[in-house]
């Protein structure tokens, strides 16, 4: 099934616009694409007429151009005939935004829709979904444009069974500086499912990290999904809901009850190198880190901090997240100390964490990070920055990023996220080094780089 028309349409028909109510989903979708995006959008309503001076076509076959992508937001009962019309007219793909199918028990209607599309090899997403958002290209979400929060264009693509989760994570992406390539809400995933998007995004040059929010798979679908993921070189992150059984699970020592749905889900995904986010905090941290670093690493973390307390909390968090903070060889410790400025040389701790103290200056962070970057026994450097210290300047983000560029050793940073520290943060993020607003988030970032090796 060819998914290109879904993601790279030049023309879009929006089916189901109202001539009188601009808050109708189809109107919101038409207006934003017509006003703001390069895709050529055509409104469709059997009554015809005009919508904001644009010609409304009675049906998709009346549009003078070939339509790549039809966005269908009508009553559910009308959808099968509309899809038939799309197929007969040679439309390339569709998103069925309309609800009213399997999710309310109308399996018959959904089955009819699927069988029509499958017979014609016609790709559609949904029903009961928001569709597709691609930065600077198109947006089929029926949410008024001024209400949405848009992350910058980037390399993370997100496929979500829930539209709400997807829109919400876009807000988090914006807050944390995670760049988005493609966002797809797949709703009931009646025809095109996670595994189809995985295959497409694995080959998509704009996508470097593939994220899924999954509620559940069909019979044996999980097996096919993890086997496909196993051969995908890009990092894959999954956030799963439904971890806890609805009722209390009886205590039992039988395999059938020990290997419950979530246990099997976790085991099968982990075994095949998929990174499982346990919550949305992990999810955004994982996205940010893996969009910078796609090469899997080991567990050894070097911590550079301006405060002993931050270092100690980071060590604790590393421990609970399966990371190790190895002690450093005395030769290396001496070398680190020899390279420190006089203000911190005598008071710094050079074990691991390396505490440069409140007297540390930019040069101390740079020289220490550089020394750790040359070590094969350190897999990732965690820099905990306190921008209020007098010796720390806003230049440090860009300077430490340059160390990464030179040595290729992954660096993850903690900087409190407030407006006045923004230049420091951007010094990291604009140069490819991820920054978290919390120590724990920084540890999550480092953890994700292991790619969930069991």
């Amino acid at each position: 099934m060819n998914l290109h028309p879904l993601f790279k349409p030049k023309t879009m028909a929006v089916i189901g616009v109202s001539l009188v109510n601009d808050l109708q989903p189809a109107n919101v979708i038409f207006n934003k694409n017509n006003n703001r995006y390069p895709v050529q959008a055509y409104p469709i309503n059997p009554k015809g007429g005009l919508l904001h001076d644009e010609i409304v076509y009675g049906r998709v076959s009346e549009v003078p151009e070939k339509i790549d992508f039809a966005v269908i937001a009508t009553r559910a009962e009308l959808v099968p005939d509309i899809v038939t019309d799309c197929i007969e007219t040679g439309v390339g793909s569709a998103a069925v935004i309309s609800g009213g199918f399997s999710e309310i028990g109308r399996h018959d209607l959904q089955d009819r829709l699927v069988s029509i599309a499958r017979d014609a090899d016609f790709p559609f997403i949904g029903p009961n979904c928001l569709g597709v958002y691609i930065p600077a290209h198109m947006d089929t979400f029926f949410l008024p444009i001024e209400r949405m929060v848009f992350p910058s264009a980037g390399n993370v693509s997100f496929v979500s069974q829930s539209g709400g989760i997807l829109v919400d994570q876009m807000i988090k992406f914006k807050e944390e500086g995670v760049g988005l390539a493609k966002a797809v809400s797949i709703g009931n995933k009646a025809l095109i499912r996670e595994i189809d998007f995985l295959a497409y995004l694995a080959d998509d040059p704009q996508t470097k990290v593939i994220v899924f929010y999954i509620e559940g798979f069909g019979e044996d679908e999980g097996r096919n999904f993890v086997q496909a993921a196993h051969t995908c070189p890009k990092p894959i992150i999954v956030l799963k809901s439904g971890k806890t059984p609805a009722g209390g699970k009886a205590v039992s020592s039988h395999t059938a009850s020990l290997a419950g749905d979530y246990e099997s889900f976790f085991a099968a995904l982990s075994q095949h190198g998929i990174v499982i986010a346990h919550n949305e905090l992990e999810l955004v941290a994982f996205c940010e880190a893996l969009s910078s670093y796609q090469k899997p690493i080991g567990t050894n973390i070097g911590i550079v901090t301006g405060s002993g307390g931050h270092g100690a909390l980071a060590v604790d968090a590393c421990y609970y997240n399966g990371l190790t903070v190895p002690s450093l060889h005395s030769d290396l410790q001496n070398e680190i100390r020899d390279n420190l400025s006089p203000s911190s040389r005598d008071i710094a701790s050079t074990g691991n964490p390396i505490d440069l103290t409140g007297s540390g200056i930019d040069d101390d962070f740079v020289s220490t990070t550089r020394l750790l970057s040359t070590r094969d026994d350190i897999d990732c450097i965690m820099v905990l920055l306190l921008p209020y210290l007098p010796g720390i300047s806003t230049d440090l983000g860009a300077r430490l990023s340059a160390v990464y560029q030179q040595y290729g050793k992954p660096i993850v940073a903690y900087v409190p996220h407030v407006e006045k520290y923004q230049m420091l943060i951007e010094g990291f993020e604009f140069n490819g080094v991820p920054v978290s607003p919390s120590i724990e988030g920084t540890v999550f970032m480092a953890k994700s780089l292991r790619r969930n090796k069991l």
Binding site: G216, F217, G218, E219, D220, E221, G222, R223, V226, V251, S253, H254, T255, A256, L258, A259, D261, E263, S264, F265, F266, A267, A268, Q271, H272, L454
Partner: protein, 230 residues
């Protein structure tokens, strides 16, 4: 070999939905797993003769299609060391509904593991290994993988157990034979892939591991319910 064996066992076990221990063990043996010497005795004479052959002490277990969980009816007696005790056990078991016989087998010692398989709706055959007894019941100390296993999976499954030091020889004890454990799990994984369409779950519990061998001391195979779509 397995296919033929299983076909016969399957057809006679269908009526009650699971495979009785003697047949399940025989199947494990055919698949290359180590099992204790045993006999499903129909009379006290058979039981005593076999006990003399393998030597006391022995284990006696109820074999009945109505007893899937033997401990529920106190259907296992271990450490039986005289004919008298063996006959007493036989007499008690023989009053249980649909008594098929009494399984007499050699006593096996070692570190207890539980090894099992389920057919997961989303992921198909899954293999589980856990620390036996309280390790599973109280601490939930298990590793789980999608089958078929590769040898690296076995190593990481061992790594994933909190009780791993016990297997490696804790406080001067001998390490278990990891080569045998790997062989067992790989054979078991092959078997599970072959039986996938017919079974719902398999429990090998306990499996006794020593520095020499890993022996399947009990085996139960629950068949797929033909009426369920799961």
């Amino acid at each position: 070999m397995i296919d033929e064996n299983f076909g016969d066992i399957l057809s006679k076990s269908k009526a009650w939905g699971w495979i009785l221990e003697p047949d399940a063990k025989q199947l494990m043996h055919t698949a290359g797993l180590t099992i204790p010497r045993f006999l499903c005795a129909k009379t006290t004479e058979e039981a005593c003769d076999f006990a003399h052959t393998i030597g006391y002490p022995v284990v006696a277990k109820i074999v009945s299609p109505t007893v899937m969980h033997k401990s529920d009816v106190h259907g296992v007696e271990v450490g039986i060391d005289t004919d008298e005790k063996l006959m007493k056990a036989f007499d008690r078991f023989s009053t249980i509904e649909q008594f098929h016989g009494m399984l007499v087998e050699e006593m096996i010692h070692g570190i207890e593991l539980i090894i099992g398989a389920t057919i997961d709706y989303q992921f198909g055959p899954m293999i589980l290994m856990g620390m036996g007894g309280t390790g599973v019941e109280i601490y939930g100390d298990v590793s789980l993988r999608m089958a078929p296993l590769v040898e690296n999976d076995v190593e990481s499954m061992v790594q994933g157990l909190k009780g791993r030091p016990l297997l490696e020889g804790y406080r001067g004890a001998d390490s278990i034979n990891f080569g045998e454990l790997t062989r067992l799990l790989m054979c078991f994984s092959d078997l599970v892939m072959k039986l996938e369409v017919s079974i719902d779950s398999i429990d090998l519990n306990p499996v006794f591991c020593t520095s020499d061998s890993c022996t399947v001391a009990d085996a139960r195979i629950v068949l797929k319910n033909p009426d369920s779509h799961h």
